[in-house]
């Protein structure tokens, strides 16, 4: 074993490389361990020519290696140069299998059996993990690949896909596209495709019926040779032609490896990250974690952290992070002058939800937040505005306008706006500053991150939000103290879509409040479940049984995956008993609901078909996932003449690409739900956007701002298939010049052929995510609706569409 190096860096991606370059510049003895034969494997595996983005733009790059947006090849070449210029000591083919020892004397064992001694370790291994490899002889041949970036790279080949999960099936379907003329075989060790999504399996079966793919079950590879593959089948060995093997056998996530060193994570769930100090040190002294593994998926962050972590290891404790100036800018508008760290401390000590937050996390949250001074009386937000950010009161207090002229204060250290955060619904009340105040606005993404990473913050937010939700529902002079017994016994229950919370006829007196998602209320009338009501988040149900003592008179089930808060009947009754006004208000609400139920029942007797149609339409809408929609395009096919002017209008109102597919999608009783964005309450697309460019706008629209890196996560996460990855076509000649002179492709999205022919020489636009933004910023509103000549297209929320007025009209 050689002399210990000062720092060993594991992983040569942007973070690790930048760290190694800094170590080299500082003259520290170091080693950069890379398991493959090239630097930065994750980016190396990007498809050829992929355009890599350099977001966030506001962040300065602080690294001894260069980086700017550009093609994959250019970036990799520059890094190779920089590694050489900085005299970085790289060891290739060094896959680390074990780390032992402690700070000052670590031993790093590689797969080849070498042992490297190091005083400190920087882990920069990313989150990709290691793909499981083929185990049969010949598994080291170069025509075995472990991912398919672009199916179009493969044409006219014999391709065998090994692996029966979603990844394998999707790759197989991708390369089996007709136009590519590949002959595709997929191998499955077992009899069925139990691990894959039903949709993928049915697509695969269809592809087999069409002759596009051949499926071999109970078959596995036995020997790989150039051009040929020997299979082990139930009926004996068989040799097939094969010049490319795509192996999708899953991968080992790096977490187990990281934990084996004794490093603690913030929690058990998949989103958890290693616990880190402000200097990126883990719970094991001497081991540092940076980059994607630390929760920073963007290249620039990674490179900056590489630089910083080595400076910290070298004892430069005075170094301020590269985001210092961004944070300074966030605090710049406040009336008092304090340094960034003073402000951070100020917020951490003043605000309850920040109490358990580490300084490093605090910096991160503040970057996604705003702080502002509000003079007394200034409005923070108004009732019914869309908004999902969370506000915290650092100084002063806020006033909630519960009814015109009546306000309730919220004290310093507390929060407001949490209803929008949790349910995704519009703001419930207008909020003003009660005195000259300082408020922090935390974006929804940052707030969710905060709740996931800091259990203390999560508890405070949930407790407060439940109290507020109840106060809002049951008005009438109720105070937080009255609610204490109810809130203490409350329980949050997750309900999967379609599952009933209450069944008609059940005994029970629990009351439920919908925290997120939505519910449908059904009643069995004449042997058929009849839709009575749609309950959006923020509504409550179950109160009838408490008041009457009778069994449940209707079934309530989740329209989408939802969360409800269960309040015990006894606690609820005690609350009502304490406040007669609340009891009265609740009884009025119950009477209204009961009257509507009996209205529907009476109509069912006389206008059975109208009620059935209303009920079936409601079920269809819920089945199509519109239960989580806030604003969806619905087409009446009694009116739609198929002119596709909606699609053309969409393309022409944006940069030439349509965000909706009118014809695709399901139809029931001539009501058509086209493939177009529904602006979900909790948008699936937002869940994993590395540059965080998907937001909810002031009109409730879910839109993408500039800065998409084209990763496609949102497209894959959208269950409704409404996001496309597409490059903008070149600008086309104006409408008059098309009408009068026939120039250009005319209104609507130009054909790919025209786009290709008219793309300026040498310009290869990058494909980015394209989704409906509800024509954000256009004074006229959604173009699809404006441009419909017959009135077939409207945009509505489910509760607007399924109003009782509809039934009244239909039933006459």
């Amino acid at each position: 074993m050689s002399d210990p190096v000062r720092v060993a860096i594991i992983g040569s991606g942007p973070a690790g490389l930048s760290a190694a370059a800094r170590a080299a510049q500082l003259g520290l003895s170091h080693v950069l361990l890379e398991k493959t034969d090239h630097l930065s494997d994750t980016i190396f595996k990007y498809q050829k020519g992929k355009h890599v983005m350099a977001t966030p733009n506001r962040l300065d790059l602080r690294s001894d290696c260069r980086f700017d947006e550009g093609a994959r090849e250019a970036i990799l070449a520059i890094w190779d140069e920089d590694a050489a210029a900085n005299k970085v000591n790289v060891v290739y083919h060094a896959e680390v299998v074990e780390v032992t020892g402690e700070k000052g004397a670590f031993q790093i064992k590689t797969a080849k059996g070498d042992v490297i001694a190091a005083e400190a370790i920087v882990l920069a291994i990313g989150t990709q993990g290691n793909p499981n490899r083929l185990r049969c002889p010949g598994n080291d041949l170069p025509h075995i690949i472990y991912q398919v970036d672009d199916p179009e790279d493969f044409k006219d080949r014999h391709i065998t896909v090994v692996g029966s999960g979603d990844a394998g099936i999707e790759n197989a379907l991708g390369v089996a596209e007709d136009a590519l003329e590949n002959r595709v075989t997929i191998l499955n060790r077992s009899k069925d495709f139990a691990r894959a999504k039903a949709k993928n399996v049915s697509d695969l079966m269809e592809a087999e019926e069409n002759g596009a793919i051949s499926i071999r079950t109970e078959t596995q590879p036995k020997l790989v040779e150039a051009g040929w593959l020997t299979l082990e089948t139930p009926t004996g060995d068989e040799k097939i032609q094969c010049d490319l093997i795509v192996a999708r056998l899953g991968s080992v996530a790096p977490r187990a490896f990281v934990e084996s060193m004794g490093i603690e994570f913030t929690g058990p769930d998949r989103e958890a990250f290693p616990k880190l100090s402000p200097t990126f040190e883990t719970s094991v002294p001497g081991i540092y974690v940076i980059g994607a593994l630390a929760g920073y998926p963007l290249i620039k962050h990674c490179m900056n952290q590489g630089y910083d972590v080595v400076e910290f290891i070298n004892g430069n404790t005075a170094l301020t992070p590269a985001d210092e100036k961004d944070l300074a800018a966030i605090f710049a508008g406040l009336p008092e002058r304090k340094s960034v760290s003073e402000w951070l401390d100020f917020l951490r000590t003043r605000v309850r939800i920040f109490a358990d937050v580490s300084p490093l996390q605090m910096r991160e949250f503040m970057l996604d937040s705003k702080v502002a001074f509000f003079p007394e009386g200034e409005v923070v937000f108004e009732k019914d505005e869309p908004g999902s950010s969370l506000f915290a009161i650092a100084e002063g207090h806020a006033l909630v306008e519960v009814s015109p002229g009546v306000t309730v204060p919220i004290e310093q250290g507390s929060i407001f706006g949490e209803v929008g955060l949790i349910s995704g619904r519009k703001r419930g009340a207008t909020i003003r500053a009660g005195e000259d105040s300082i408020f922090v606005e935390v974006s929804r993404t940052a707030a969710l991150k905060l709740m996931a990473a800091v259990p203390g913050a999560k508890r405070v937010i949930e407790r407060i939000s439940l109290e507020r939700q109840l106060l809002q529902i049951f008005k009438g002079g109720l105070t937080a103290e009255d609610l204490a017994p109810v809130v203490d016994g409350a329980e949050v229950i997750r309900v999967p879509a379609g599952k009933a919370v209450l069944e008609e006829g059940d005994e029970g007196d629990d009351v439920f409040v919908i925290r997120s998602g939505s519910m449908v209320v059904e009643k069995n009338i004449g042997g058929k479940p009849i839709f009575l009501r749609y309950l959006p988040a923020g509504s409550y149900f179950g109160e009838m049984a408490v008041l009457s003592g009778a069994p449940r008179n209707a079934t309530v089930k989740a329209a989408v995956g939802s969360e409800v808060i269960k309040l015990t009947g006894a606690g609820f009754k005690a609350m009502l008993a304490a406040r007669p006004q609340v009891r009265e208000a609740t009884e009025t609400a119950v009477a209204e609901r009961a009257a509507m139920n009996s209205f529907i029942e009476s109509r069912k007797a006389t206008y059975s078909s109208a009620v059935d149609l209303y009920s079936d339409t409601a079920s269809f809408i819920m089945k199509e996932g519109l239960g989580e929609a806030t604003d969806a395009l619905l087409i009446d096919e009694n009116l739609c003449v198929g002119c596709d002017n909606c699609e053309k209008a969409c393309a022409d109102s944006h940069e030439g690409l349509s965000r909706l597919d009118r014809e695709a999608g399901k139809t029931f009783a001539h009501l058509h739900v086209p493939t177009s964005c529904r602006h979900c309450e909790h948008p699936h697309c937002m869940a994993d956007c590395p540059p965080n460019v998907i937001h909810r706008g002031p009109d409730g629209e879910v839109f993408m701002e500039e800065g998409c890196i084209g990763c496609g996560n949102c497209m894959r996460n959208c269950p409704y298939g409404v996001i496309r990855m597409e490059a903008a076509p070149p600008p086309k000649p104006g409408l008059l010049s098309w009408l009068l002179l026939g120039r250009g492709p005319g209104p609507g999205e130009p054909s790919p052929k025209w786009t290709k022919a008219n793309m300026p020489e040498g310009k290869k636009p990058k494909k980015i995510a394209v989704k409906c933004d509800m024509c954000k910023g256009l004074a006229g509103g959604p173009a699809c609706v404006r441009a419909c000549p017959t009135g077939a297209a409207i945009r509505v929320s489910p509760e607007e569409f399924l109003s009782i007025a509809r039934l009244e009209e239909d039933a006459g």
């Binding site: 269809e206 019926e209 002759g211 508008g333 009336p335 705003k370 702080v371 502002a372 001074f373 509000f374 003079p375 200034e378 937000f381 108004e382 019914d384 505005e385 908004g387 606005e441 009446d636 096919e637 009694n638 009116l639 739609c640 003449v641 002017n645 053309k648 022409d652 597919d661 014809e663 399901k666 139809t667 001539h670 002031p698 009109d699 409408l735 009408l739 209104p747 024509c775 910023g777 256009l778 004074a779 006229g780 509103g781 959604p782 173009a783 609706v785 404006r786 441009a787 419909c788 000549p789 017959t790 009135g791 077939a792 409207i794 945009r795 509505v796 569409f801 109003s803 007025a805 009209e809």
Partner: protein
């Protein structure tokens, strides 16, 4: 003191203006607003025509005739502008449905405005040509209104949640399966199947497109031939017959889809060119009347 927050827009938004909670067709738009406007206009024309005594007799050249003529000519130009409005995606607020509604009802009012403008003096001249062309445009428009009201339901029922691309793809998929399934058949039986594979499902031109009756019936013929055949590989043949039946159904669906779409569009090929002919004749009419002065 200004705040750092960019203030969100205060209250409800511009999109509320186009927000409708229910589907309402262009004919019923805004509770028949344009039907009422148009009806009122016609009534006004008819009444005033009866009440105003133009001497020597009602004529396009009287002051009253000029008034109606000007209204009519401007209306025609405005009605023509629908084609531009439909394609011009400006960002301000307008509803094409409202435009269509007005287009239909005001277009119908031209029957009264222009006819009463003539003072019922029709003859074999360029003036009456303009009138006749206008009536033809209106007639074709009436056809359009009728098919817009009647056919969308049939289009929706026929496509049964499939897109046109999926219909085409389904036929291609059956062709691929037929190709594989027909391999074991003897040449005599394979030939009609091959003919079905080779047929162009769209041959037959505009006539076939509009009637849905196509001259090429190779698939039906193949099915008939194979259903009657005996001997040989009966199992393979049954599979091919089943596939041919499915292909026939898929073809029928696609052809019906194309037929309905054609019926929904064909009238525009009359309506629009006739409109331009009308504008030409109208120009000739207007220029020529100045010589009567």
């Amino acid at each position: 003191m200004a705040t750092l927050f960019r203030r969100r827009r205060a209250t409800a938004t511009q999109t509320e203006r186009v927000r409708e909670r229910r589907h309402e067709g262009f004919l019923r738009h805004a509770n028949f607003r344009w039907a009422k406007v148009s009806g009122g206009l016609c009534l006004l024309v008819i009444l005033s025509y009866a009440l105003i005594d133009v001497s020597p007799r009602p004529n396009g050249g009287s002051w009253y005739g000029y008034t109606l003529g000007t209204i009519g000519a401007l209306l025609i130009l405005w009605l023509t502008a629908l084609g531009y409005r439909k394609r011009r995606m400006t960002s301000d607020f307008w509803s094409l449905k409202a435009w269509t509604s007005a287009h239909v009802y005001l277009g119908l009012s031209l029957i009264v405005i222009a006819t009463w403008h003539t003072g019922f003096q029709l003859g074999w001249n360029v003036h009456t040509l303009a009138w006749a062309l206008m009536m033809l445009v209106i007639l074709s428009g009436l056809y359009g209104v009728a098919v817009y009201a009647l056919l969308p339901q049939a289009l929706s029922n026929n496509r049964d949640q499939m897109t046109q691309m999926q219909m085409l793809e389904a036929i291609r998929a059956f062709d691929r399966q037929l190709h594989a399934a027909a391999q074991p058949l003897p040449p005599g039986e394979a030939a009609p199947v091959l003919a079905s594979l080779e047929q162009d499902p769209f041959a037959g031109g505009i006539r076939a497109r509009l009637t849905g009756r196509y001259p090429n019936r190779a698939t039906a013929a193949a099915r008939a031939a194979l259903t009657e055949a005996v001997g040989g590989d009966a199992e393979a043949r049954a599979k091919v017959v089943a596939l041919l039946t499915q292909k026939e159904a898929a073809l029928a669906r696609l052809r019906e889809h194309l037929r309905l779409r054609a019926l929904l569009e064909i009238w525009l090929y009359v309506h629009v060119p006739l409109t331009f002919a009308l504008i030409a004749a109208l120009s000739a009419h207007i220029i020529s009347v100045f010589f009567y002065w």
